[in-house]
Symmetry: none
Subunit: 204 residues, 4 copies
DNA sequence: AATGAATGAGCCTTCATTCAT
DNA sequence: CATGAATGAAGGCTCATTCAT
C-alpha cells in the first residue's frame, strides 16, 4: 500500500520521540521547568512547534514521558545492581557516584516535584510518578537488606534506609543546579559511610 | 503628621508586608509555585491586586522576600541552637523534628530550586539565595564540630557533614509535598543516628 | 474602604457585559459564528482581548450568554403577547413581523445550531439551550390554543403547531443571512394565513 | 496505458471522490461542521490526509462539493416529483417524509448556513449555493401550482409558498440535530395540511 | 493608600496544506 | 497515486503589571 518503508518509519518515529525527550530534558536542565516551553523544546530538537505535537499530545505529555523514562531507567539500574554479587557498600557507592556525575539528573528531581505540585497536572500522572518512585524504593531496600545481612550496613528498616538514602541523593542533586556553586565537595565515599556499619561495632 | 504617626505608619506597613509574605507562602504551599499567582496571593491576603504592588515591586520580589525571610529565620534558629549547651545529637534531633513538622517548609525548598533555576529571575537574587544557603551551613557545621569534639558525631569535614544533613532534610521535605503519600515514616531519631558515632567505636 | 463608587462600578460592569454581548452578536452576524473570534469581538467592543476575559470566562461563555439573553428576551416577548387581549392571528402576525425585521435574529438561530452541534461545547450549555427553546414553545402554544378557541387558528395539537410556526420562522430567518439575496419576499400576512382557519370552514 | 485503463482510472477516481464526499458528510453529521477536519474525513474514508488532497483542492472544496451534490440530488428529486401524476398534497407529503427521515439532511442545512456565513469562504461558492437553492425552488413552486389548479393547495404566490414550505422543512430539520431531543413529534400529514386548501372552501 | 479594570505579551494547541519519499 | 511528517499561521486563554479613579 504505502510507497514508504513502514518499519523504518516506525523506527524513525520512535527515534524522534526519544530525541524530543532528550531535548526537553536539556531545555529543562538549562532553563528550569518553569521556563521550559514547547517552542524552546522544538527549537532544541530542530523541529517546528507543530511537529512536536505529532509525537506528543501536550506539553504535560512530554514532561511526564521524560520523567517516566528517567524513573524507569533509574529503577532498572538499581534493580540490576541489586542482583550483582558485590559488597552492598560498593553498590551504594557506584549508584551514588554515577547519579551525581550525570548533570541532567537534577532535572528529574525538579520535575518530580513540579509534577507532584502543579495542580493543573493530571492527577493520574502524579499518582503514576509516585507509584514509580515507591516501586523504585524496593530494589534499593533490597540492597540495604543485603548489606545488613553482611553486617556492613547500619541496622534499621531497610525500606526506611533506602528512602533516606534516595532523599539524600535527591537533596544533593538539587544543590547541583547549573550556575549554582556550592563550596562543598560531594564525595560518594563519605555518603556511603553514613549508611555503613562501623568495623568495630559489627557482630562477630 | 506627627512623628508618632509616621512611625505607626511605618510599623503598619511592615506588618502588611509580613502578612503578604505569610499569605504568599500559604498560596505556594497550597497550589505549588507554578500556579501561585499575584491575584491568588492578594485574595488570600484580603487585599486588591494593585495594593499588593504598593508593598512589593514585583512577583519575583515577593517570592524572593519569602525565601529570604525563611532562610534568615532558619539561619537564626540554627545559630541559636549552636550556642546552646546540649548534646549535638539532641540539637540535630530537634532541628530535624521541627523542620519536618512544619508543612510549609517544603515550599521553601521548592522556591529555592525555582529561584535558582528560573532564567528570568534576577541573577543577583539567585546569588543572594546561594549566599544565604552557604552562610546557613556554618552554624550547622559548628554543631557538627561540637558533636565531634564530644565524640557523638561521626568523623569527617564538619561542613561537609552539615551539607549532607541539610540536603537530606531538604530531600525528605520534598517528599512531603501536599497530596503526596509516601509509604515510609520519617523519624528524626533514625536520621540523627546516621550522623552519630556508634557507642563502641568512640575514642576513650 | 474603596475609594471608588462600588455601586457605580457594579453598574458599569453590567453595562460592559451587555456591551460585549451586543458586539459579539454584531460580529457573529457580520462574520458568521465560525469566523467570530475573541479578538474581533474585543475590537468591536473597543476593548483589549484580555479585558474581555475579565467579564467572561471563555469564548463559549460569551456565546452562550448571547444565546441565553436572546432566548430569554424572546420568551418574555411571546409570554407578554400571550396575555394580551387580541386576535391570536394578530399576535402571530406581530411576532412574525418583528422577528423578521430584526436583522440579528438569524444569528441566534445559527448559534442555537452551533451550540447544539459543536461537540466541544459544554453539554450543560447545550441542554440549557434546548430547555429554554422548549420552554419558549409553551406561551406560543398558548396563543395557538387561544386562536383555536376563537376558531381562527387551524385545528391540531397547539404545541405542535407552535413548534411548526417557530421552525418556519427560524427557517425563514436563516434565509435572511447577510449578503444572501432570496428572490422571494417574506410576508407575515401569508405566513399567518397558513395557520389560520378559513372563514367558511369555521364552526358556527 | 490502453484507453480502457484510462476510462477505468477515471471511473475509479470518480468513485473515490464520491466516497470522500460520503465520508465528509458522515463526519459533519457526527461532529458538526466546526469540528469536522480533514484528518477525520480522511480517517473515515480510510485514506491518508495527503491523498484526500489528490481528489480535492481544499477543505472548502470538499464541503462545497458535498453541498453541491446534495443540492443537485435534492433538486432532481423535486423535479422528478413535479412530473408525476399525483395529488400535489401527496407529493408534498412524500417529499416531507423522506427529507425528515434522512438523518444527514440537517448537515446540508448547517452547511448551507456555514458556507453562506463564513467570510473566508470563496464568494463564488456562496453565490453558487444561493443560485442552486433558488433554482430548486422552481420545481417546488411547480408542485404548488399544480395543487392550486386542482384546488387542493392554498392560494397565493406559488413560489412564495414553495419558499415557505422549504423553509419550514429546513427549520424542522435543524431541530433534529443529533443528540437533541424535541418533545414534539414531526408529522408530514400535519405539515402538508398547513398548505392544503380545506375541503369546504374549495371552488366548485 | 486602595481598587480592580485594562493592557499586551506570551504560552499551548489545532489544523489546513505541502512535500519528500 | 499514497503516505503522514512537517510547517506555520492563527486562535483561545493567562497573568504580571499599570493606571485612572
Amino acid at each position: 500500500m504505502s510507497p514508504r518503508n513502514v518499519e523504518k518509519d516506525q523506527l524513525l518515529r520512535e527515534t524522534r520521540r526519544e530525541h524530543i525527550l532528550d531535548c526537553a530534558l536539556q531545555v529543562i536542565a538549562k532553563q528550569g521547568i518553569d521556563s521550559a516551553n514547547v517552542k524552546d523544546i522544538a527549537k532544541e530538537a530542530g523541529l517546528s512547534v507543530g511537529n512536536v505535537y505529532n509525537y506528543f499530545n501536550s506539553k504535560d505529555d512530554i514532561f511526564s514521558a521524560v520523567l517516566q523514562r528517567g524513573q524507569i531507567n533509574y529503577g532498572r539500574k538499581i534493580s540490576d545492581h541489586a542482583l550483582l554479587e558485590l559488597d552492598a557498600r560498593d553498590k551504594l557507592h557506584e549508584i551514588c557516584e554515577s547519579w551525581i556525575a550525570t548533570p541532567e539528573n537534577w532535572a528529574f528531581t525538579i520535575m518530580l516535584q513540579s509534577i507532584r505540585t502543579n495542580e493543573t497536572v493530571n492527577p493520574e500522572l502524579r499518582e503514576a510518578a509516585t507509584r514509580r518512585f515507591t516501586a523504585n524504593l524496593e530494589p534499593m531496600a533490597e540492597i540495604m537488606r543485603q548489606g545488613q545481612e553482611a553486617g556492613v550496613i547500619v541496622e534499621g528498616d531497610p525500606k526506611q534506609l533506602a528512602f533516606y538514602f534516595v532523599s539524600l541523593i535527591q537533596g544533593l542533586t538539587l544543590q547541583l543546579a547549573p550556575g549554582y556553586e556550592i563550596p562543598v565537595s560531594i564525595q560518594a565515599k563519605t555518603i556511603v559511610r553514613l549508611f555503613s556499619q562501623p568495623e568495630n561495632s559489627r557482630k562477630k
